[in-house]
Amino acid sequence: MRRLIGITALSLCIVFLLFIMADAKEEFVLNRPKEDFVTTQGYVIVSGETVADTSVVVLVNGEKKETIRVGASGLFVTQADIELGKNVITVKVVFPSGEEEIVSRNVYRLDKDMNLKSLSSIIQALKLLILQ
């Protein structure tokens, strides 16, 4: 009986440790751009927060645009030029531990002459066009 209790306690400890290790994964939040962000500007803002001393690489449509070394606040902001139509913004972070995380967001640049009021319908049409 004692042995059984011991094994159970040990198992619980292992599970707890694994849980802590999983939770200790380094964090990264990409605040901007939001998914399916639509703009008429020639650039988008890329901003977020992560742990200090992380390296952040910003890519637009797979092309590397900028590398930022994040300071003690963990905050970063930059801007990346985009083309007309669909653009994929990829942010690759390399944590101080060497671990990596990649987040991608689709953004759409429209011509300035377009009426922004009907953006939602335009983006749907654009998405359908791209999917086809």
Binding site: R32, F37, V38, T39, I45, G71, A72, S73, L75, V77
Partner: protein
């Protein structure tokens, strides 16, 4: 005869020279004391309370995550504030119940938000803007942080309360003028800002912040400063009903005290003045925030003049046997608040009477040189790295007195106190 003519010519030249010299001195003095003269002249006009509560900053929302932050000395600030005052004037304010409004949603719309330097009672604002409260009573103690105007099938206007409640104009206005104003501002190529939401990974940052997208920000001057001139006899006389009945006492530290036995005024060697007048216990007139602030501002205006770039930076209301309102007024340098450990302008109003007045105005004298301020993120990085901060409540660009100069600094408020980072080089400043 010739000698006499020569003598007269010389005398004439000497007289003309002396006359020119004296006129020059007079004009030079007038020029150097221009600020003080302006303050004295302002005493002749009435100060509008809306000019006392001018917003610390106006945030323009252009949509598509694009914003601009306007400080009191930047272009379009005055236009935006005048527009807000015009829109609010004479309108009916109602409480917005079950408001489905959140900051993120409001920020994404086209519009602008004006942040007051200090939360203000809602009934005070309705009086300042001459608004109607209608039949729906709004509790007097409710405080308002900002005014938001957004384009949403017309113009929607909200007062945002400290408690998260919203008050709105009963009737929707036309958004035509707002859109025009924003379009003009957009064409001016103002600095673009991005909103960073509250941080929580590396540091807890309660408020979100607006940060400039470009690393190149507008230059800020480092300035020499001077204190206000020592008050003239005529200004001192205004504090007493009968100045001939006052005694003058010169103290060892160089201060001069005038008293009539009831009230007194101390004039410090640097020109600061402190007036006090204890009120009789039985005096009970009753006053509200609006009336008390009006009395305080009028008192300042008639006792030394209303200085430029002064605003209501804080207040304390104490309710004992009678209600006492202490108003603190701050100074803005280049549109940014000038921080200090001492007070600049304080008035205490009790029962419609001023019981204490302290005035020690600092003015910019001349620009020494200009600096390119570091970004707010750089300032945060430095502060967190040096002081190992875990929680931050606010971050703002301001001015600080450092030795004989006024320098731009990033002020970071944390739960453990205030930290100043030199905006020029990112060095922490002991203050």
């Amino acid at each position: 005869m010739k000698n006499r003519d020569s003598f007269l010519v010389l005398l004439l030249v000497a007289l003309v020279g002396t006359s020119l010299f004296l006129s020059g001195i007079t004009w030079w003095r007038l020029y150097s004391e221009n600020g003080d003269v302006q303050a004295e002249v302002s005493a002749l006009s009435v100060v509008d309370l809306a000019d006392v509560i001018t917003p610390d900053r106006v945030v323009l929302h252009f949509g598509q995550d694009m914003h601009s932050v306007l400080y009191p000395d930047t272009p379009f600030y005055g236009e935006a504030w005048d527009f807000a005052r015009k829109i609010l004037h004479g309108k009916e304010l109602v409480e917005v119940k079950n408001a489905n409004l959140d900051d993120e949603n409001l920020r994404q719309k086209v519009g602008m938000e004006l942040f007051f330097p200090v939360p203000l009672p809602v009934d005070f604002l309705t009086k300042v803007f001459n608004m109607n409260v209608g039949q729906q009573a709004i509790p007097h103690e409710r405080l308002v942080n900002s005014v938001t105007m957004i384009e949403e099938d017309g113009l929607s206007v909200f007062f945002k309360g400290s408690d998260g409640k919203f008050y709105g104009l009963k009737n929707r206005q036309s958004s035509f003028e707002l859109k025009q104003l924003l379009e003009r501002a957009r064409r001016e190529n103002l600095s673009v800002y991005i909103y960073l939401p509250p941080a929580k990974i590396n540091v807890e940052f309660e408020e979100g912040i607006y940060v400039p997208v470009s690393t190149m920000q507008d230059d800020l001057p480092v300035l020499a400063f001077k204190h206000e001139k020592t008050p003239s006899q005529s200004t001192i006389a205004q504090f007493f009903p009968d100045f001939s009945a006052t005694r003058k006492i010169e103290e060892k530290d160089g201060a001069v005290v005038y008293t009539d036995g009831n009230r007194g005024i101390r004039i410090y060697p640097n020109g600061a003045i402190e007036y006090s007048r204890p009120l009789p216990r039985e005096l009970k007139a009753g006053s509200d925030f609006y009336e008390a602030l009006k009395i305080a501002v009028n008192f300042i205006n008639t006792h030394g003049g209303w200085p430029n770039d002064v605003y209501l930076s804080g207040y304390k209301v104490v309710q004992n046997q009678r209600t006492s309102y202490t108003f603190n007024f701050g100074i803005r340098i280049n549109g940014l608040p000038l921080l200090s450990q001492s007070e600049y302008l304080t008035v205490t109003v009790e029962e419609n009477q001023v019981s204490r007045y302290f005035r020690n105005i600092v003015k910019e004298n001349k620009v020494l040189y200009k600096i390119q301020p570091i970004s707010p993120i750089q300032a945060l990085d430095t502060a967190i790295a040096i002081y190992n901060l875990k929680g931050i409540t606010s971050l703002e660009l301001s001015y600080l007195i450092s030795e004989d100069t006024l320098i731009p600094v990033w002020t970071i408020e944390s739960h453990s106190g205030r930290i100043f980072i030199n905006a020029k080089n990112g060095e922490a400043i002991n203050f």
